[in-house]
């Protein structure tokens, strides 16, 4: 059995409130695994403990109790982060650096250098479609561009695990779609992804597995298709049906214990419609 | 977080305990090397104001001193001698190791202020003008004596005090003594020894001693054979009735 990309066991995090005896229980006895190559969606309302869990996994915050591991290495140790790329929520990076300089900086702190690093930075800029903005300072980047450069810096040392916190927050639909496509591309290369997002439609499109946190506890966890399927219902979508055929199907259903719940025209998504109208869907 | 704060405070306290003694010793070494001799007290605070005092306390003594010196310069142009004396006191208190401040303060009092006092058109009584003049001489002497106290390692103030005694107090013996003290310093100008001998030669009870000094200087070579030295030497040879065959110097015959 392969070592999980992320392994969390009995994780608890309590924040003391200064000058008060009360405490805030951010995460309570959380246990979950993220298998290599999976896209795992960590969901929950604001204040449910998602960011705290992510920060503990990344070693930015120490746990009160419990353990977290990245590919079998204790995530509080610095060397465990060699395999991790992180994109925080709404990052700003260093505004005075150009896109190219940003990737060079992050590459250097990951131990890369020289021509290899320059080539790598060039490749990543091409990957995230920012070659034209290579020499522009990040202060002049749009939100979508910042998210893409953020993805590029997360990938600079070719990590096996990506942790993305709201990667499409505040990004327009076209940009959001591009980022989603990138994430699917990373998945196809075997990169494990831990994703936090409030955009449930996107989570539904890309995640294999999800965990839902509520008040610090993992309330539901499992394969996406298993969790959201309505067990006792079956969806049948037909094309070019005549009213007579529909009547025959209705009659068949009536003879059995089944019931027609709803008959309606299927709908495209608002996103697809928007993209079709604005020409973003190329 | 509390634990971390406690560890940080403990490290700083431990370091603090070990550095205190070292700093105390270092401060004493600094004082022995004539650093940080300025005494900042409440009197100074009243003279130079809150901002100036704060600046002086914060390590910008010299800038505050310069500012006050420029103010004193302005007071000089307005012949406000009293204000000048006050400012000079503050400047020298801020910068006790600055020889120039002591020297020029004394010069202003002993030469400029005293000269003004003796010619003061607003004072018709000569006795009072002379009294004021002498008070300024005393003020100049006071600056130089305090300057020497703070700078015993510099020749300049000894020389200036000697010149003051010579020109303003007519005290040639004291002038000679201070020129001699100035001459003791390794990098003092060569004329200090000569000036000490000249002044001593003007003291009636010390002519023999002065003569011996002048002979010693004469024997050092042609560089010392300046007109004043030769003139004083010849004068003392005559005064002391030195036998001609024992005289070291014979003036050229007048044509």
């Amino acid at each position: 059995m392969a070592t999980p990309a992320i392994s969390i066991r009995n994780l608890t995090k309590v924040y003391p409130i200064p000058f008060r005896s009360e405490r805030v229980l951010a995460v309570k006895n959380l246990s979950l695994d993220v298998e290599p190559g999976q896209v795992y969606g960590l969901l929950g309302p604001n204040g449910s403990g998602k960011s705290t869990t992510m920060k503990i996994v990344l070693g930015l915050v120490p746990p009160t109790s419990g353990t977290t591991q990245i590919f079998g290495r204790d995530s509080s140790m610095v060397d465990s982060r060699e395999d991790v790329g992180f994109l925080p929520e709404n990052p700003y990076f260093y505004k005075y650096l150009t896109g190219f300089e940003t990737l060079m900086f992050y590459g250097k702190i990951c131990g890369l250098r020289g021509a290899k690093l320059r080539d790598r930075a060039g490749e990543l800029l091409k990957l995230v479609s920012l070659e034209n903005a290579r020499d522009r300072r990040l202060g002049g980047y749009s939100k979508g561009m910042l998210q893409r450069i953020g993805l590029a810096q997360a990938l600079v040392q070719e990590p096996r695990l990506l942790v993305l916190d709201e990667p499409t927050a505040g990004v327009d639909p076209a940009g959001s779609r591009e980022i989603r496509d990138l994430i699917l591309d990373f998945k196809s290369r075997g990169i494990t992804i831990l994703l936090c997002s409030h955009l449930l439609g996107q989570v539904q499109e890309i995640c294999d597995r999800i965990g839902i946190l509520h008040r610090g506890e993992l309330v539901r966890e499992g394969k996406l298709e298993d969790l959201i399927s309505i067990e006792n219902q079956t969806e049948l979508i037909l094309e070019n049906t005549s009213p007579e055929l529909l009547g025959e199907i209705q009659a068949l259903v009536n003879k059995s214990n089944a019931r027609v719940v709803e008959t309606r025209k299927p709908q495209t998504t608002l996103e697809r419609f928007f993209l079709d109208v604005t020409g973003g869907n190329k | 977080m509390r634990k971390t704060a406690a560890v940080a405070v403990a490290i700083l306290a431990l370091f603090g305990a070990s550095k205190m003694h070292f700093e105390q010793q270092l401060a004493e070494e600094h004082r022995a090397a004539f650093f940080h001799g300025a005494k900042l007290n409440l009197n100074m605070r009243q003279q130079i104001g809150q901002l100036g005092f704060l600046a002086a306390l914060s390590g910008f003594r010299s800038v505050v001193a310069d500012y006050l010196w420029i103010e004193a310069h302005g007071a000089w142009e307005r012949t406000e001698w009293g204000r000048m004396a006050l400012l000079f006191n503050n400047v020298t208190a801020l910068e006790p190791r600055n020889v120039m401040f002591w020297d020029l303060s004394a010069w202003h009092m002993g030469y400029n202020a005293s000269n003004f006092a003796i010619r003061n058109p607003k004072e018709p009584r000569q006795a009072l003008r002379i009294k004021a003049q002498r008070e300024y001489f005393k003020l100049a002497e006071d600056f130089l004596l305090r300057g020497i106290e703070n700078n015993p390692d510099h020749y300049k103030l000894f020389e200036s005090l000697a010149t003051l005694y010579k020109e303003k107090f007519d005290d040639h013996y004291k002038a000679s003594q201070y020129y001699d003290k100035a001459a003791q310093f390794p990098f003092s100008p060569s004329y200090e020894k000569r000036f000490a001998a000249y002044e001593l030669s003007r003291c009636p009870d010390h002519e023999q001693e002065a003569y011996e000094k002048l002979v010693k200087l004469y024997r050092m070579g042609e560089n010392e054979w300046l007109p004043t030295l030769l003139s004083r030497l010849n004068y003392l040879q005559e005064k002391l009735n030195i036998p001609p065959d024992q005289r070291v110097y014979t003036p050229p015959a007048k044509k």
């Binding site: - | 971390t4 490290i11 205190m20 910008f60 010299s62 310069d66 190791r97």
Partner: protein, 306 residues
């Protein structure tokens, strides 16, 4: 969209506990940030100040000793102020800004130990202070040299009829008033004091809640440090004062640096010289203070929850 095939990188090397390359990347980045924030424009202000001062003393009837005195005091005093302000302001905003922009998370999520982050940031500020001190020193030396040459030329013009050796002595007198060997330790202590304050400001910023609070505390420490010597003297002597006062003075002496020990400018400009041994001890104390403050910054930051 170009999902290009990414070139395979060489095999990963073992993680190094300490990497000068990582520290240097962070330090260079910090220096670049400060340069691109145009902090060096203050050097223009410094240049104007010394030119103005030089011109001012020429207009009024100051003797050459007074002119040199004022030029040195204003130049070195300004260097002290500027480097101090630069060290406090540049360092105070560093950590809060990185946290607020979430840049800190992206850096620490890489295999970068926290002590390397602190070290890199501090080295970046130290480099900035070094460049600033060197440039200001060069400007000061040029201004002083120019003034010296003007005075020498005036001396030569006025020296007609005076014996050559006396003229030579007068010129030597002028030169001895301008450049002295002790100016070098003077400049070094100005730099060391600013570096000490950068480390101290970093320490304060690791637990402070805002940049303004950090700046305020740093300047307060500066003023208290300027009179720490008096508190220490009080602690070591046995006056008839109250126990409370003695404990308070003891705490001040314990926790605050004696900044007067680094104020050599005033006395050196006044003509004092500093022995090499004494200078080495003073400089050594400055270096130790910087190291201790940097170390405690790391200790606090290492356990800081981000």
């Amino acid at each position: 969209m170009n999902p290009a095939i990414v070139t395979t990188l060489p095999p990963k090397t073992r993680h190094k506990f300490f990497s000068p390359a990582r520290v240097s990347a962070i330090a260079c980045n910090t220096l670049l940030e400060l340069v691109r924030l145009k902090v060096f424009y203050f050097l223009l202000l410094f240049a104007l100040l010394i030119i103005g001062c030089s011109g001012f003393t020429s207009i009024f009837d100051f003797q050459f000793q007074e002119q040199f005195q004022i030029l040195k005091d204003v130049s070195l005093g300004s260097m002290s102020i500027f480097t101090l302000m630069l060290s406090i302001l540049a360092t105070a905003m560093m950590l809060p800004k990185d946290i607020e922009d979430r840049t800190l998370y992206t850096i620490l999520a890489k295999p970068v130990p926290r002590f390397e982050y602190i070290m890199g940031k501090l080295l970046g500020v130290f480099s900035l202070l070094l460049i600033s001190t060197l440039v200001m020193s060069a400007m000061f030396v040029i201004a002083l040299y120019a003034k010296q040459q003007i005075v020498i030329n005036n001396t030569l013009h006025q020296g007609a009829g005076i014996p050559p050796d006396q003229v030579k002595a007068m010129i030597e007198g002028v030169k001895s008033q301008t450049f002295t060997v002790s100016l070098i330790p003077c400049l070094i202590t100005i730099y060391l004091k600013s570096v000490l304050f950068a480390a101290l400001t970093m320490l304060i910023s690791t637990f402070a809640t805002s940049s303004i609070f950090t700046i305020f505390i740093a300047f307060t420490v500066y003023f208290i440090g300027s009179i720490e010597g008096l508190a220490r003297e009080y602690w070591y002597s046995t006056p008839n004062g109250s126990e409370t006062a003695k404990i308070l003075m003891g705490l001040v002496a314990l926790f605050f640096p004696d900044l007067q020990l680094f104020n050599l400018v005033d006395d050196i400009v006044a003509g004092n010289t500093i022995a090499m041994g004494l200078f080495v001890k003073t400089a050594g104390l400055g270096v130790v203070y910087t190291f201790v403050y940097s170390f405690v910054s790391y200790v606090v930051f290492a356990f800081k929850e981000l």
